[in-house]
């Protein structure tokens, strides 16, 4: 097993009197394909918001690549290699698809350099290369507010990739897609993982999670109820109870 890339230790988060996360501990190895599942309101998105820096957790620690990142703002975490896609796509609507990728390229990859025509052209080439990999090259100059649902999902992943992450958090990237489109997005995620990127997949489409993940954690009411391989997770009575209420 590769060395631990992300270590979440006893993370808790409360919203007023509601406990969204209660002492969650997870360790994810570099290059791993990790699945995070759980019924609605179980705390999946809260957990990844805490990891990405969109939310500050109340207790516990988050160590990424050997560094405590709990107090870092989200943009610093992105610069250290944590990228994410959003459950509800959040494209930069006033920009084209290509420009959407230029934002992380300029602020993460080429940051600190004087942006000359040459570096801008270089960044555009890099953006185009990512779009080709993801299958959005033809839409490069299209305004991002004119994309279809699957294209928006791909744009989310492409923009996250433009930040050159070590860890990609895919938050329900397949929600609302047809089975063909799910396969298409799944293929992209496999390809990204093959290039060495660690991936956390949060998903409600069980077939996709089971096919993709090497290891799965199931959350319910802010706590881990079980952890294991996809085969062991489907057999677990706690998981069945959480999902079916049996």
């Amino acid at each position: 097993m590769d060395k631990i890339l992300l270590k979440i230790e006893g993370v808790s988060k409360h919203f007023g009197g509601f406990s969204a996360l209660d002492g969650v501990s997870i360790a994810i190895a570099g290059g791993e394909r990790f699945g995070l599942i759980g019924p609605n309101g179980s705390g999946k998105t809260t957990l990844i918001n805490c990891v990405a820096g969109s939310l500050r957790h109340d207790a516990g620690s988050i160590v990424f690549d050997g560094e405590e990142v709990s107090r870092l703002p989200a943009y610093q975490r992105t610069r250290r290699g944590i990228a994410r896609s959003f459950q509800i796509p959040r494209p930069f609507a006033s920009m084209s698809v290509l420009e959407n990728l230029m934002v992380p390229l300029e602020y993460v990859v080429h940051r600190g350099l004087v942006v000359t025509g040459k570096t801008e052209a270089q960044a555009q080439d890099e953006a185009m290369a990512i779009l080709r990999d993801i299958g959005l090259a033809e839409k490069a100059v299209t305004p991002s507010n004119r994309l279809s649902q699957v294209e928006l999902r791909k744009l989310e992943l492409a923009r996250a990739m433009a930040a050159r992450p070590q860890l990609l958090i895919s938050d329900e990237a397949m929600a609302g897609l047809s089975s063909n489109e799910v396969s298409e997005v799944l293929e992209i995620l496999f390809k990204l993982n093959a290039s060495g990127i660690t991936i956390i997949m949060i998903e409600h489409i069980m077939q996709a999670v089971m096919k993709f993940s090497q290891r799965i954690v199931c959350l319910d009411a802010g706590r881990i109820i079980c952890e294991g391989t996809p085969a062991s997770i489907v057999q677990n009575p706690d998981v069945q109870r959480a999902y079916l209420g049996a």
């Binding site: 969109s54 959040r90 494209p91 992380p104």
Partner: protein, 311 residues
């Protein structure tokens, strides 16, 4: 290159007008129009590019004006120094206000900026050296050669400041800073998760915007030979600075210029032909019309027409 040629022509026209036209009223009116070009351009850097609606224009404008007036009273400093001091003070106010208020979003940020106007106005209302509530009379020095009248000189100076303000806004818009600000406007959380230091960028925009608004107000005391808090911190400046980009279009640096020229010219015409009281009503009506019928302003309309005619 095209921009600098157009800016050069615009400035040359201002100089030619100052050399040939005799009626001083045109320069009084032209000064106000150009001042609103500066204010609207400054407003658009934070309000248009980053989407943070700022009602605090009078605070930055007024602080710039008072900085220049007090500096002149204390040291008889030349205009260039007054403008520089005004930009510095208003820029510092922008930075401080930004650090304190830019964690707020939407209506909460807008309310905080209105509060800023009240605070700064109260300070100057109670500062006796600056004339307090009754104001401060200033004796203009003679105009610098080759200008024969002070108002004409201020008009040409304001034309130069307007060109500089638009050039700064254009640079910001086209650079990585502008892209970051637009990302903030579209989705602040996604921008932050794309590596954009959102707070730092917003504070930068607020500082530059504040400094330019201060520049817009710096020559006002000399233009009127007088300064007092009630008119200097008037909310009409906030409305004009906000309405111009809304009417012209907030997406690009040309929008505030078009909006300010159109709106301020109409206001000047209304003032002369009907009454000065109608000014605010004109702004209100135009703002409602554009927000409802053309939310992307005149530039948005032009873009739409060219797109549909090319099909």
């Amino acid at each position: 290159m095209k921009f600098w040629v157009s800016a050069g022509i615009a400035f040359a026209l201002a100089v030619i007008a100052a050399a040939t036209l005799k009626n001083e009223y045109y320069f009084f009116a032209g000064y106000t129009v150009l001042m609103f070009v500066v204010l609207a351009t400054a407003w658009n850097i934070l309000g248009g590019y980053a989407g943070y609606v700022n009602f605090g224009t009078p605070a930055f404008f007024g602080l710039g004006a008072y900085t220049a007036a007090v500096l002149f009273k204390a040291t008889a400093a030349p205009l260039a120094l007054q403008i520089l001091a005004a930009a510095t003070m208003s820029g510092l106010l922008g930075c401080a206000a930004g650090l304190l208020t830019l964690r707020l979003r939407g209506i909460f940020f807008a309310i905080a900026t209105i509060a800023l106007v009240v605070i700064i106005e109260t300070l100057f209302n109670n500062w006796r050296y600056a004339g307090g509530a009754t104001g401060l009379q200033l004796l203009r020095p003679p105009p610098t050669a080759p200008f024969e009248s002070y108002v004409k000189m201020l008009f040409v100076l304001m034309a130069a400041l307007a060109v500089a303000a638009v050039a700064i806004a254009r640079y910001i818009e086209r650079s990585w800073i502008g892209r970051g600000l637009r990302a903030i406007r579209d989705s602040e959380e996604a921008a932050e998760c794309s590596g954009v230091p959102t707070l730092r960028l917003k504070v930068f925009a607020c500082t530059v915007s504040g400094a330019l608004m201060g520049v817009g107000g710096a020559t006002m005391p000399m233009y009127l030979s007088f300064i007092e808090p009630a008119s200097t911190f008037n909310l009409n400046y906030a409305i004009g600075a906000l309405a111009s980009p809304m009417i012209g279009g907030t997406a690009g640096y040309l929008g505030p210029v078009i909006g300010a020229i159109l709106l301020s010219t109409i206001q000047q015409v209304v003032t002369v032909t009907i009454s000065s009281e109608m000014n605010v009503m004109v702004v209100g009506v135009l703002l409602v019309v554009f927000v409802v019928a053309a939310p992307e302003g005149i530039l948005g309309l032009i873009k739409k027409w060219t797109r549909s005619s090319s099909r």
